[in-house]
Symmetry: C2
Subunit: 324 residues, 2 copies
Protein backbone atom coordinates (compact mmCIF):
# COMPACT_ATOMS: atom_id res chain seq x y z
CA UNK A 1 0.00 0.00 0.00
CA UNK A 2 1.23 3.46 -0.82
CA UNK A 3 0.97 6.52 1.40
CA UNK A 4 -1.15 8.19 -1.26
CA UNK A 5 -3.73 5.42 -1.10
CA UNK A 6 -4.14 6.01 2.62
CA UNK A 7 -4.37 9.73 2.08
CA UNK A 8 -7.00 9.22 -0.65
CA UNK A 9 -9.73 8.70 1.95
CA UNK A 10 -8.83 11.99 3.59
CA UNK A 11 -8.31 13.82 0.33
CA UNK A 12 -11.03 16.42 0.77
CA UNK A 13 -10.01 17.30 4.30
CA UNK A 14 -6.30 17.42 3.47
CA UNK A 15 -7.09 19.71 0.58
CA UNK A 16 -9.00 21.97 2.96
CA UNK A 17 -6.07 22.04 5.40
CA UNK A 18 -3.75 22.84 2.49
CA UNK A 19 -5.89 25.87 1.62
CA UNK A 20 -5.92 26.91 5.29
CA UNK A 21 -2.14 26.65 5.36
CA UNK A 22 -1.96 29.03 2.44
CA UNK A 23 -4.44 31.39 4.07
CA UNK A 24 -2.51 31.32 7.33
CA UNK A 25 0.59 32.87 5.79
CA UNK A 26 -1.23 35.37 3.63
CA UNK A 27 0.60 38.26 5.23
CA UNK A 28 0.65 41.78 3.86
CA UNK A 29 4.41 41.80 3.42
CA UNK A 30 5.75 40.81 0.01
CA UNK A 31 9.02 39.14 1.01
CA UNK A 32 7.56 37.34 3.98
CA UNK A 33 4.60 36.03 1.99
CA UNK A 34 6.82 34.97 -0.88
CA UNK A 35 9.32 33.19 1.37
CA UNK A 36 6.56 31.46 3.34
CA UNK A 37 4.68 30.41 0.21
CA UNK A 38 7.89 29.15 -1.36
CA UNK A 39 8.32 26.97 1.69
CA UNK A 40 4.74 25.77 1.63
CA UNK A 41 4.82 24.97 -2.09
CA UNK A 42 7.98 22.90 -1.62
CA UNK A 43 5.49 20.38 -0.30
CA UNK A 44 6.21 17.48 1.96
CA UNK A 45 4.24 14.52 3.13
CA UNK A 46 1.97 16.59 5.40
CA UNK A 47 2.19 13.70 7.82
CA UNK A 48 1.53 15.92 10.85
CA UNK A 49 -1.86 17.21 9.61
CA UNK A 50 -2.76 13.67 8.53
CA UNK A 51 -1.99 12.39 12.04
CA UNK A 52 -4.13 15.20 13.49
CA UNK A 53 -7.07 14.32 11.22
CA UNK A 54 -6.80 10.60 11.96
CA UNK A 55 -6.43 11.26 15.71
CA UNK A 56 -9.57 13.37 15.60
CA UNK A 57 -11.56 10.46 14.13
CA UNK A 58 -11.45 8.90 17.61
CA UNK A 59 -13.62 11.71 18.97
CA UNK A 60 -16.48 13.80 17.59
CA UNK A 61 -14.72 14.71 14.36
CA UNK A 62 -15.04 18.42 13.57
CA UNK A 63 -12.76 19.77 10.86
CA UNK A 64 -13.42 23.39 11.89
CA UNK A 65 -11.94 22.69 15.31
CA UNK A 66 -9.27 20.30 14.13
CA UNK A 67 -7.81 22.73 11.60
CA UNK A 68 -6.69 24.94 14.50
CA UNK A 69 -4.32 22.16 15.46
CA UNK A 70 -3.47 20.65 12.07
CA UNK A 71 -2.36 23.93 10.51
CA UNK A 72 -0.10 25.05 13.42
CA UNK A 73 1.60 21.66 13.65
CA UNK A 74 2.55 21.73 9.98
CA UNK A 75 3.64 25.38 10.33
CA UNK A 76 5.88 24.51 13.29
CA UNK A 77 7.45 21.76 11.20
CA UNK A 78 7.99 24.19 8.32
CA UNK A 79 9.49 26.86 10.58
CA UNK A 80 11.91 24.37 12.10
CA UNK A 81 13.02 23.37 8.59
CA UNK A 82 13.84 26.99 7.66
CA UNK A 83 15.91 27.43 10.80
CA UNK A 84 17.59 24.06 10.19
CA UNK A 85 18.58 25.20 6.72
CA UNK A 86 20.26 28.30 8.18
CA UNK A 87 22.22 26.15 10.60
CA UNK A 88 23.13 23.57 7.97
CA UNK A 89 24.00 26.13 5.28
CA UNK A 90 21.63 24.07 3.12
CA UNK A 91 21.07 25.33 -0.41
CA UNK A 92 18.36 22.90 -1.44
CA UNK A 93 15.66 20.87 0.26
CA UNK A 94 13.43 18.42 -1.60
CA UNK A 95 15.13 19.58 -4.77
CA UNK A 96 14.02 23.21 -4.24
CA UNK A 97 16.15 26.19 -3.27
CA UNK A 98 15.94 26.86 0.46
CA UNK A 99 14.73 30.23 1.79
CA UNK A 100 18.25 31.05 2.98
CA UNK A 101 19.73 30.37 -0.44
CA UNK A 102 16.95 32.07 -2.44
CA UNK A 103 16.96 35.10 -0.12
CA UNK A 104 19.45 35.11 2.76
CA UNK A 105 19.99 33.87 6.32
CA UNK A 106 18.30 36.87 7.92
CA UNK A 107 15.17 36.43 5.85
CA UNK A 108 15.19 32.73 6.69
CA UNK A 109 15.54 33.42 10.40
CA UNK A 110 12.69 35.91 10.49
CA UNK A 111 10.51 33.83 8.18
CA UNK A 112 10.93 31.00 10.68
CA UNK A 113 10.13 33.32 13.60
CA UNK A 114 7.06 34.60 11.78
CA UNK A 115 5.76 31.12 10.98
CA UNK A 116 6.35 29.94 14.57
CA UNK A 117 4.44 32.94 15.92
CA UNK A 118 1.66 32.45 13.39
CA UNK A 119 1.32 28.80 14.39
CA UNK A 120 0.86 29.76 18.03
CA UNK A 121 -1.60 32.50 17.28
CA UNK A 122 -3.75 30.04 15.31
CA UNK A 123 -3.81 27.39 18.01
CA UNK A 124 -4.83 29.95 20.65
CA UNK A 125 -8.12 30.35 18.79
CA UNK A 126 -9.12 27.07 20.45
CA UNK A 127 -10.08 28.10 23.99
CA UNK A 128 -8.42 25.06 25.57
CA UNK A 129 -5.27 26.04 27.51
CA UNK A 130 -4.12 22.41 27.81
CA UNK A 131 -3.66 22.31 24.03
CA UNK A 132 -1.56 25.49 24.19
CA UNK A 133 0.49 23.96 27.00
CA UNK A 134 1.19 20.72 25.15
CA UNK A 135 2.24 22.59 22.03
CA UNK A 136 4.52 25.12 23.73
CA UNK A 137 6.18 22.42 25.84
CA UNK A 138 6.90 20.45 22.68
CA UNK A 139 8.47 23.57 21.15
CA UNK A 140 10.78 23.91 24.15
CA UNK A 141 11.89 20.28 23.76
CA UNK A 142 12.36 20.72 20.00
CA UNK A 143 14.63 23.71 20.48
CA UNK A 144 16.69 21.84 23.08
CA UNK A 145 16.93 18.98 20.57
CA UNK A 146 18.38 21.26 17.92
CA UNK A 147 21.06 22.42 20.34
CA UNK A 148 21.77 18.81 21.34
CA UNK A 149 22.38 18.04 17.69
CA UNK A 150 25.04 20.75 17.48
CA UNK A 151 26.56 19.63 20.77
CA UNK A 152 26.97 16.06 19.53
CA UNK A 153 28.35 16.88 16.09
CA UNK A 154 31.32 14.55 15.43
CA UNK A 155 31.10 13.26 19.01
CA UNK A 156 31.88 9.56 18.68
CA UNK A 157 31.58 9.13 22.45
CA UNK A 158 27.82 9.66 22.43
CA UNK A 159 25.58 6.80 23.53
CA UNK A 160 22.61 5.17 21.79
CA UNK A 161 20.51 6.87 24.48
CA UNK A 162 21.87 10.31 23.46
CA UNK A 163 20.84 9.58 19.88
CA UNK A 164 17.37 8.33 20.84
CA UNK A 165 16.65 11.32 23.07
CA UNK A 166 17.78 13.61 20.27
CA UNK A 167 15.50 12.10 17.60
CA UNK A 168 12.66 12.07 20.11
CA UNK A 169 13.00 15.83 20.47
CA UNK A 170 13.76 16.45 16.82
CA UNK A 171 11.06 14.30 15.21
CA UNK A 172 9.03 11.94 17.37
CA UNK A 173 7.58 14.49 19.78
CA UNK A 174 5.87 16.60 17.12
CA UNK A 175 4.36 13.49 15.51
CA UNK A 176 3.25 12.24 18.95
CA UNK A 177 1.43 15.48 19.80
CA UNK A 178 -0.08 15.60 16.30
CA UNK A 179 -2.00 12.39 17.01
CA UNK A 180 -2.69 13.42 20.60
CA UNK A 181 -3.92 16.95 19.91
CA UNK A 182 -6.17 15.76 17.08
CA UNK A 183 -7.96 13.64 19.68
CA UNK A 184 -7.91 16.29 22.43
CA UNK A 185 -9.27 18.97 20.08
CA UNK A 186 -12.46 16.93 19.58
CA UNK A 187 -12.82 15.85 23.20
CA UNK A 188 -11.73 12.22 22.92
CA UNK A 189 -11.17 10.47 26.29
CA UNK A 190 -7.74 10.91 27.94
CA UNK A 191 -6.87 7.22 27.53
CA UNK A 192 -7.45 7.49 23.77
CA UNK A 193 -5.26 10.60 23.35
CA UNK A 194 -2.59 8.97 25.50
CA UNK A 195 -2.53 5.90 23.25
CA UNK A 196 -2.46 8.07 20.14
CA UNK A 197 0.48 9.99 21.60
CA UNK A 198 2.28 6.69 22.10
CA UNK A 199 1.50 5.64 18.52
CA UNK A 200 2.86 8.93 17.13
CA UNK A 201 5.94 8.81 19.32
CA UNK A 202 6.89 5.27 18.30
CA UNK A 203 6.05 5.80 14.63
CA UNK A 204 8.12 9.00 14.78
CA UNK A 205 11.14 7.24 16.24
CA UNK A 206 10.94 4.61 13.47
CA UNK A 207 10.47 7.36 10.89
CA UNK A 208 13.66 9.15 11.92
CA UNK A 209 15.70 5.95 12.11
CA UNK A 210 14.48 5.05 8.60
CA UNK A 211 15.38 8.54 7.45
CA UNK A 212 18.86 8.20 8.90
CA UNK A 213 19.24 4.80 7.21
CA UNK A 214 18.13 6.32 3.93
CA UNK A 215 20.91 8.90 4.10
CA UNK A 216 23.39 6.04 4.19
CA UNK A 217 21.79 3.35 2.03
CA UNK A 218 19.80 5.43 -0.46
CA UNK A 219 20.85 6.50 -3.93
CA UNK A 220 21.15 10.19 -4.82
CA UNK A 221 17.97 9.82 -6.90
CA UNK A 222 16.00 8.37 -4.00
CA UNK A 223 17.02 10.95 -1.41
CA UNK A 224 17.31 14.01 -3.62
CA UNK A 225 20.89 14.70 -2.50
CA UNK A 226 24.10 12.65 -2.34
CA UNK A 227 24.15 10.06 0.45
CA UNK A 228 26.23 10.85 3.52
CA UNK A 229 25.03 14.41 4.07
CA UNK A 230 24.40 13.60 7.74
CA UNK A 231 27.98 12.64 8.42
CA UNK A 232 29.33 15.55 6.42
CA UNK A 233 27.50 17.77 8.89
CA UNK A 234 28.84 15.80 11.83
CA UNK A 235 25.49 14.19 12.58
CA UNK A 236 26.31 10.69 13.84
CA UNK A 237 23.25 8.49 13.36
CA UNK A 238 22.33 5.11 14.72
CA UNK A 239 23.74 2.80 12.01
CA UNK A 240 27.07 4.54 12.63
CA UNK A 241 26.80 4.19 16.41
CA UNK A 242 26.06 0.46 15.99
CA UNK A 243 28.97 0.06 13.58
CA UNK A 244 31.27 1.84 16.05
CA UNK A 245 30.47 -0.91 18.59
CA UNK A 246 32.28 -3.41 16.35
CA UNK A 247 35.92 -3.48 17.55
CA UNK A 248 37.13 -4.50 14.08
CA UNK A 249 35.51 -1.49 12.40
CA UNK A 250 35.93 1.08 15.15
CA UNK A 251 39.55 2.24 14.56
CA UNK A 252 39.01 2.73 10.83
CA UNK A 253 35.69 4.55 11.40
CA UNK A 254 37.20 6.86 14.02
CA UNK A 255 40.04 7.74 11.69
CA UNK A 256 37.58 8.45 8.84
CA UNK A 257 35.49 10.58 11.21
CA UNK A 258 38.51 12.67 12.25
CA UNK A 259 39.34 13.16 8.61
CA UNK A 260 35.80 14.30 7.72
CA UNK A 261 35.72 16.61 10.76
CA UNK A 262 39.12 18.12 9.94
CA UNK A 263 37.86 18.82 6.41
CA UNK A 264 34.73 20.42 7.92
CA UNK A 265 32.61 18.00 5.89
CA UNK A 266 34.01 19.34 2.61
CA UNK A 267 35.24 15.95 1.54
CA UNK A 268 34.25 12.71 -0.10
CA UNK A 269 32.55 10.36 2.39
CA UNK A 270 32.23 7.31 0.10
CA UNK A 271 34.74 5.24 2.06
CA UNK A 272 32.98 5.99 5.34
CA UNK A 273 29.52 5.25 3.95
CA UNK A 274 30.82 2.03 2.43
CA UNK A 275 32.05 0.70 5.79
CA UNK A 276 28.69 1.45 7.39
CA UNK A 277 26.76 -0.15 4.52
CA UNK A 278 28.69 -3.39 4.93
CA UNK A 279 28.43 -3.38 8.72
CA UNK A 280 25.81 -4.96 10.97
CA UNK A 281 24.81 -1.37 11.84
CA UNK A 282 22.27 -1.41 9.02
CA UNK A 283 20.46 -4.57 10.09
CA UNK A 284 20.50 -3.54 13.74
CA UNK A 285 19.04 -0.10 12.95
CA UNK A 286 16.38 -1.74 10.77
CA UNK A 287 15.52 -4.08 13.59
CA UNK A 288 15.20 -1.18 16.03
CA UNK A 289 12.92 0.69 13.62
CA UNK A 290 10.76 -2.43 13.33
CA UNK A 291 10.50 -2.67 17.10
CA UNK A 292 9.25 0.91 17.25
CA UNK A 293 6.70 0.15 14.53
CA UNK A 294 5.47 -2.87 16.52
CA UNK A 295 5.11 -0.69 19.61
CA UNK A 296 3.26 1.97 17.65
CA UNK A 297 0.75 -0.58 16.36
CA UNK A 298 0.42 -2.22 19.78
CA UNK A 299 -0.46 1.15 21.34
CA UNK A 300 -3.57 1.32 19.15
CA UNK A 301 -4.68 -2.21 19.94
CA UNK A 302 -7.38 -1.43 22.55
CA UNK A 303 -8.86 1.44 20.50
CA UNK A 304 -12.09 0.94 18.51
CA UNK A 305 -11.60 -0.71 15.11
CA UNK A 306 -12.54 2.28 13.00
CA UNK A 307 -11.11 3.12 9.59
CA UNK A 308 -8.73 5.70 11.11
CA UNK A 309 -7.11 2.95 13.17
CA UNK A 310 -6.52 0.88 10.01
CA UNK A 311 -5.10 3.96 8.30
CA UNK A 312 -2.69 4.71 11.15
CA UNK A 313 -1.53 1.09 11.10
CA UNK A 314 -1.03 1.30 7.31
CA UNK A 315 1.04 4.47 7.71
CA UNK A 316 3.13 2.83 10.43
CA UNK A 317 3.72 -0.20 8.16
CA UNK A 318 4.59 2.18 5.32
CA UNK A 319 7.17 3.91 7.53
CA UNK A 320 8.55 0.53 8.58
CA UNK A 321 9.02 -0.51 4.96
CA UNK A 322 10.36 2.75 3.51
CA UNK A 323 12.63 1.55 0.79
CA UNK A 324 16.16 2.73 0.19
CA UNK B 1 13.39 61.52 39.38
CA UNK B 2 15.47 58.56 38.37
CA UNK B 3 14.12 55.26 37.06
CA UNK B 4 15.74 53.51 40.02
CA UNK B 5 13.74 55.60 42.50
CA UNK B 6 10.52 54.48 40.88
CA UNK B 7 11.71 50.90 40.85
CA UNK B 8 12.66 51.15 44.56
CA UNK B 9 9.03 50.70 45.63
CA UNK B 10 8.79 47.51 43.58
CA UNK B 11 12.22 46.29 44.58
CA UNK B 12 11.13 43.10 46.35
CA UNK B 13 8.81 42.02 43.54
CA UNK B 14 11.30 42.83 40.81
CA UNK B 15 13.90 40.84 42.68
CA UNK B 16 11.48 37.90 42.78
CA UNK B 17 10.82 38.18 39.03
CA UNK B 18 14.58 38.30 38.46
CA UNK B 19 14.96 35.00 40.34
CA UNK B 20 12.08 33.52 38.35
CA UNK B 21 13.76 34.61 35.11
CA UNK B 22 16.87 32.73 36.16
CA UNK B 23 14.83 29.67 37.14
CA UNK B 24 12.96 29.76 33.85
CA UNK B 25 16.09 29.15 31.81
CA UNK B 26 17.63 26.60 34.14
CA UNK B 27 17.79 24.02 31.37
CA UNK B 28 19.76 20.80 31.58
CA UNK B 29 21.93 21.69 28.61
CA UNK B 30 25.27 23.38 29.35
CA UNK B 31 25.61 25.59 26.26
CA UNK B 32 21.96 26.63 26.21
CA UNK B 33 21.95 27.48 29.91
CA UNK B 34 25.21 29.37 29.64
CA UNK B 35 24.10 31.38 26.61
CA UNK B 36 20.72 32.18 28.15
CA UNK B 37 22.24 33.18 31.49
CA UNK B 38 24.82 35.31 29.73
CA UNK B 39 21.96 37.13 28.07
CA UNK B 40 20.02 37.50 31.31
CA UNK B 41 23.04 38.76 33.25
CA UNK B 42 23.69 41.40 30.60
CA UNK B 43 20.82 43.12 32.36
CA UNK B 44 18.58 45.78 30.92
CA UNK B 45 15.99 48.05 32.38
CA UNK B 46 13.43 45.25 32.90
CA UNK B 47 10.84 47.77 31.84
CA UNK B 48 8.46 45.07 30.56
CA UNK B 49 8.17 43.24 33.92
CA UNK B 50 7.87 46.61 35.70
CA UNK B 51 4.97 47.55 33.41
CA UNK B 52 3.35 44.18 34.13
CA UNK B 53 3.66 44.67 37.90
CA UNK B 54 2.33 48.22 37.77
CA UNK B 55 -0.52 47.19 35.45
CA UNK B 56 -1.48 44.46 37.92
CA UNK B 57 -1.82 47.01 40.72
CA UNK B 58 -5.07 48.10 39.05
CA UNK B 59 -6.64 44.72 39.86
CA UNK B 60 -6.35 42.24 42.71
CA UNK B 61 -2.56 42.17 42.73
CA UNK B 62 -1.22 38.61 42.95
CA UNK B 63 2.47 38.16 42.22
CA UNK B 64 2.09 34.40 41.79
CA UNK B 65 -0.27 34.96 38.86
CA UNK B 66 1.48 38.01 37.51
CA UNK B 67 4.87 36.32 37.25
CA UNK B 68 3.45 34.05 34.53
CA UNK B 69 3.13 37.15 32.37
CA UNK B 70 6.09 39.24 33.59
CA UNK B 71 8.68 36.51 33.01
CA UNK B 72 7.53 35.56 29.48
CA UNK B 73 7.39 39.19 28.33
CA UNK B 74 10.98 39.81 29.40
CA UNK B 75 12.01 36.49 27.83
CA UNK B 76 10.38 37.45 24.53
CA UNK B 77 12.28 40.73 24.61
CA UNK B 78 15.54 38.87 25.30
CA UNK B 79 14.93 36.33 22.53
CA UNK B 80 14.24 39.08 20.02
CA UNK B 81 17.53 40.75 21.00
CA UNK B 82 19.53 37.55 20.32
CA UNK B 83 17.93 37.19 16.90
CA UNK B 84 18.51 40.90 16.22
CA UNK B 85 22.20 40.48 17.00
CA UNK B 86 22.44 37.66 14.44
CA UNK B 87 20.85 39.89 11.81
CA UNK B 88 22.95 42.92 12.72
CA UNK B 89 26.22 40.97 13.05
CA UNK B 90 26.46 42.72 16.39
CA UNK B 91 29.48 41.81 18.53
CA UNK B 92 28.51 43.69 21.66
CA UNK B 93 25.32 44.84 23.34
CA UNK B 94 25.31 46.96 26.48
CA UNK B 95 29.08 46.61 26.53
CA UNK B 96 28.87 42.79 26.74
CA UNK B 97 29.73 40.26 24.07
CA UNK B 98 26.62 39.07 22.24
CA UNK B 99 25.68 35.38 22.16
CA UNK B 100 26.53 35.22 18.46
CA UNK B 101 29.99 36.66 19.04
CA UNK B 102 30.73 34.66 22.22
CA UNK B 103 29.44 31.44 20.60
CA UNK B 104 28.18 31.62 17.02
CA UNK B 105 25.15 32.48 14.91
CA UNK B 106 23.64 28.99 15.12
CA UNK B 107 23.81 28.97 18.91
CA UNK B 108 22.29 32.45 18.95
CA UNK B 109 19.44 31.39 16.64
CA UNK B 110 18.56 28.31 18.70
CA UNK B 111 19.02 30.13 22.01
CA UNK B 112 16.47 32.64 20.74
CA UNK B 113 14.13 29.85 19.62
CA UNK B 114 14.49 28.15 22.98
CA UNK B 115 13.76 31.33 24.96
CA UNK B 116 10.73 32.14 22.76
CA UNK B 117 9.35 28.64 23.32
CA UNK B 118 10.06 28.81 27.03
CA UNK B 119 8.24 32.13 27.29
CA UNK B 120 5.15 30.62 25.68
CA UNK B 121 5.22 27.53 27.81
CA UNK B 122 5.31 29.67 30.98
CA UNK B 123 2.39 31.88 29.98
CA UNK B 124 0.23 28.83 29.15
CA UNK B 125 0.34 27.97 32.88
CA UNK B 126 -2.29 30.68 33.29
CA UNK B 127 -5.54 29.02 32.17
CA UNK B 128 -6.76 32.12 30.33
CA UNK B 129 -6.70 31.63 26.54
CA UNK B 130 -7.21 35.36 25.87
CA UNK B 131 -3.80 36.03 27.44
CA UNK B 132 -2.23 33.42 25.15
CA UNK B 133 -3.97 35.00 22.17
CA UNK B 134 -2.79 38.51 22.94
CA UNK B 135 0.78 37.35 23.41
CA UNK B 136 1.00 35.20 20.28
CA UNK B 137 -0.61 37.91 18.14
CA UNK B 138 1.98 40.38 19.39
CA UNK B 139 4.71 37.91 18.44
CA UNK B 140 3.35 37.72 14.89
CA UNK B 141 3.41 41.51 14.62
CA UNK B 142 6.92 41.69 16.08
CA UNK B 143 8.27 39.25 13.53
CA UNK B 144 6.62 41.17 10.69
CA UNK B 145 8.22 44.33 12.15
CA UNK B 146 11.68 42.79 11.96
CA UNK B 147 11.15 41.96 8.30
CA UNK B 148 9.85 45.46 7.65
CA UNK B 149 13.07 46.81 9.08
CA UNK B 150 15.10 44.81 6.59
CA UNK B 151 12.78 45.82 3.75
CA UNK B 152 13.24 49.52 4.49
CA UNK B 153 17.01 49.47 4.96
CA UNK B 154 18.46 52.46 3.07
CA UNK B 155 15.02 53.18 1.60
CA UNK B 156 14.82 56.97 1.59
CA UNK B 157 11.38 56.83 -0.03
CA UNK B 158 9.73 55.48 3.11
CA UNK B 159 7.10 57.61 4.81
CA UNK B 160 6.78 58.74 8.43
CA UNK B 161 3.90 56.28 8.62
CA UNK B 162 6.17 53.40 7.56
CA UNK B 163 8.55 54.36 10.34
CA UNK B 164 5.82 54.66 12.97
CA UNK B 165 4.25 51.32 12.07
CA UNK B 166 7.68 49.71 12.24
CA UNK B 167 8.52 51.01 15.73
CA UNK B 168 5.03 50.09 16.87
CA UNK B 169 5.73 46.48 15.93
CA UNK B 170 9.33 46.53 17.06
CA UNK B 171 8.92 48.21 20.45
CA UNK B 172 5.60 49.77 21.38
CA UNK B 173 3.43 46.67 21.05
CA UNK B 174 5.35 44.58 23.60
CA UNK B 175 5.29 47.47 26.10
CA UNK B 176 1.57 47.96 25.44
CA UNK B 177 0.69 44.34 26.13
CA UNK B 178 2.97 44.33 29.20
CA UNK B 179 0.73 46.90 30.88
CA UNK B 180 -2.41 45.29 29.48
CA UNK B 181 -1.62 41.70 30.44
CA UNK B 182 -0.56 42.71 33.95
CA UNK B 183 -4.09 44.02 34.42
CA UNK B 184 -5.82 41.11 32.63
CA UNK B 185 -3.87 38.53 34.66
CA UNK B 186 -5.42 39.84 37.88
CA UNK B 187 -8.91 40.34 36.51
CA UNK B 188 -8.98 44.13 36.16
CA UNK B 189 -11.96 45.52 34.17
CA UNK B 190 -11.64 45.64 30.36
CA UNK B 191 -11.69 49.45 30.31
CA UNK B 192 -8.72 49.54 32.68
CA UNK B 193 -6.63 47.09 30.65
CA UNK B 194 -7.53 49.00 27.48
CA UNK B 195 -6.27 52.25 28.96
CA UNK B 196 -3.12 50.58 30.23
CA UNK B 197 -2.53 49.19 26.72
CA UNK B 198 -2.83 52.73 25.37
CA UNK B 199 -0.40 54.01 27.98
CA UNK B 200 2.18 51.33 27.13
CA UNK B 201 1.75 51.85 23.40
CA UNK B 202 2.29 55.62 23.57
CA UNK B 203 5.13 55.39 26.09
CA UNK B 204 6.71 52.73 23.85
CA UNK B 205 6.51 54.93 20.75
CA UNK B 206 8.18 57.78 22.67
CA UNK B 207 10.76 55.35 24.04
CA UNK B 208 11.81 54.19 20.58
CA UNK B 209 11.89 57.72 19.14
CA UNK B 210 14.10 58.77 22.07
CA UNK B 211 16.29 55.74 21.46
CA UNK B 212 16.64 56.66 17.81
CA UNK B 213 17.50 60.26 18.78
CA UNK B 214 20.11 58.96 21.21
CA UNK B 215 21.85 57.06 18.42
CA UNK B 216 22.32 60.37 16.63
CA UNK B 217 22.80 62.89 19.43
CA UNK B 218 24.44 60.78 22.15
CA UNK B 219 28.14 60.43 22.89
CA UNK B 220 29.85 57.06 22.61
CA UNK B 221 30.03 56.95 26.41
CA UNK B 222 26.30 57.54 26.79
CA UNK B 223 25.16 54.95 24.28
CA UNK B 224 27.89 52.35 24.79
CA UNK B 225 28.77 52.35 21.08
CA UNK B 226 29.70 55.00 18.51
CA UNK B 227 26.77 57.17 17.37
CA UNK B 228 25.32 56.45 13.95
CA UNK B 229 25.08 52.69 14.25
CA UNK B 230 21.48 52.83 13.00
CA UNK B 231 22.39 54.47 9.73
CA UNK B 232 25.41 52.21 9.25
CA UNK B 233 22.92 49.34 9.26
CA UNK B 234 20.62 51.17 6.87
CA UNK B 235 18.02 51.86 9.53
CA UNK B 236 16.55 55.27 8.64
CA UNK B 237 15.00 56.78 11.77
CA UNK B 238 12.64 59.67 12.28
CA UNK B 239 15.11 62.56 12.77
CA UNK B 240 16.56 61.54 9.40
CA UNK B 241 13.14 61.33 7.75
CA UNK B 242 12.30 64.82 9.04
CA UNK B 243 15.66 66.17 7.85
CA UNK B 244 15.04 64.63 4.42
CA UNK B 245 11.91 66.78 4.14
CA UNK B 246 14.10 69.88 4.08
CA UNK B 247 14.80 70.59 0.37
CA UNK B 248 18.10 72.28 1.24
CA UNK B 249 19.45 69.26 3.10
CA UNK B 250 17.87 66.50 1.00
CA UNK B 251 20.36 66.26 -1.90
CA UNK B 252 23.38 66.15 0.39
CA UNK B 253 21.70 63.59 2.68
CA UNK B 254 20.73 61.35 -0.24
CA UNK B 255 24.25 61.43 -1.57
CA UNK B 256 25.67 60.58 1.88
CA UNK B 257 23.13 57.76 2.18
CA UNK B 258 24.16 56.28 -1.17
CA UNK B 259 27.75 56.45 -0.10
CA UNK B 260 27.09 54.68 3.22
CA UNK B 261 24.99 52.05 1.46
CA UNK B 262 27.65 51.45 -1.20
CA UNK B 263 30.21 50.96 1.59
CA UNK B 264 27.79 48.52 3.26
CA UNK B 265 27.96 50.66 6.41
CA UNK B 266 31.72 50.09 6.72
CA UNK B 267 32.46 53.79 6.64
CA UNK B 268 32.64 56.90 8.73
CA UNK B 269 29.18 58.47 9.21
CA UNK B 270 30.29 61.63 11.04
CA UNK B 271 29.35 63.96 8.17
CA UNK B 272 25.88 62.41 7.89
CA UNK B 273 25.26 62.54 11.65
CA UNK B 274 26.45 66.12 11.72
CA UNK B 275 23.88 67.24 9.13
CA UNK B 276 21.09 65.55 11.08
CA UNK B 277 22.24 67.05 14.39
CA UNK B 278 22.10 70.55 12.95
CA UNK B 279 18.76 69.98 11.24
CA UNK B 280 15.27 70.66 12.53
CA UNK B 281 14.82 66.84 12.47
CA UNK B 282 16.02 66.68 16.09
CA UNK B 283 13.54 69.19 17.49
CA UNK B 284 10.68 67.74 15.43
CA UNK B 285 11.43 64.21 16.65
CA UNK B 286 11.67 65.46 20.25
CA UNK B 287 8.33 67.17 19.83
CA UNK B 288 6.74 63.99 18.48
CA UNK B 289 8.13 61.99 21.40
CA UNK B 290 6.64 64.56 23.81
CA UNK B 291 3.26 64.24 22.13
CA UNK B 292 3.33 60.48 22.66
CA UNK B 293 4.26 61.00 26.31
CA UNK B 294 1.33 63.38 26.74
CA UNK B 295 -0.99 60.81 25.18
CA UNK B 296 0.37 58.08 27.42
CA UNK B 297 -0.30 60.14 30.53
CA UNK B 298 -3.73 61.21 29.28
CA UNK B 299 -4.72 57.57 28.80
CA UNK B 300 -4.29 56.98 32.54
CA UNK B 301 -6.27 60.05 33.54
CA UNK B 302 -9.62 58.35 34.39
CA UNK B 303 -7.93 55.52 36.34
CA UNK B 304 -7.91 55.56 40.17
CA UNK B 305 -5.14 57.69 41.70
CA UNK B 306 -3.14 54.85 43.18
CA UNK B 307 0.64 54.80 43.62
CA UNK B 308 1.05 52.65 40.47
CA UNK B 309 -0.53 55.40 38.40
CA UNK B 310 1.96 57.93 39.77
CA UNK B 311 4.79 55.50 39.06
CA UNK B 312 3.69 54.95 35.45
CA UNK B 313 3.48 58.71 34.95
CA UNK B 314 6.98 59.11 36.42
CA UNK B 315 8.31 56.43 34.06
CA UNK B 316 6.64 58.16 31.10
CA UNK B 317 8.20 61.50 32.13
CA UNK B 318 11.55 59.77 32.54
CA UNK B 319 11.28 58.39 29.00
CA UNK B 320 10.30 61.82 27.73
CA UNK B 321 13.37 63.42 29.31
CA UNK B 322 15.97 60.75 28.49
CA UNK B 323 19.13 62.77 28.13
CA UNK B 324 21.58 62.46 25.28
Amino acid sequence: MKLLDIYAKLKKDIHYIEKELERSIDVDHPMLREASLHLLKAGGKRIRPVFVLLGAKFGTYDLERVKHVAVPLELIHMASLVHDDVIDDADTRRGQLTVRSKWDNRIAMYTGDYIFAKALSIVTRLPDPSIHQIMSKALVQMSIGEMEQIRFFFNSGQTIRDYLLRIKRKTALLLAISCQLGAIAVGAPAEVSRRLYSFGYNAGMAFQIRDDLLDICGTEKEIGKPPGSDIKQGNITIPVLFALQNPHLRPRLLSELSFIQAADGQTDVIAFIDIIRRSEGIARAEELASKYIDKAIAALEPLPDIQAKKDLISIARFIGNRSY
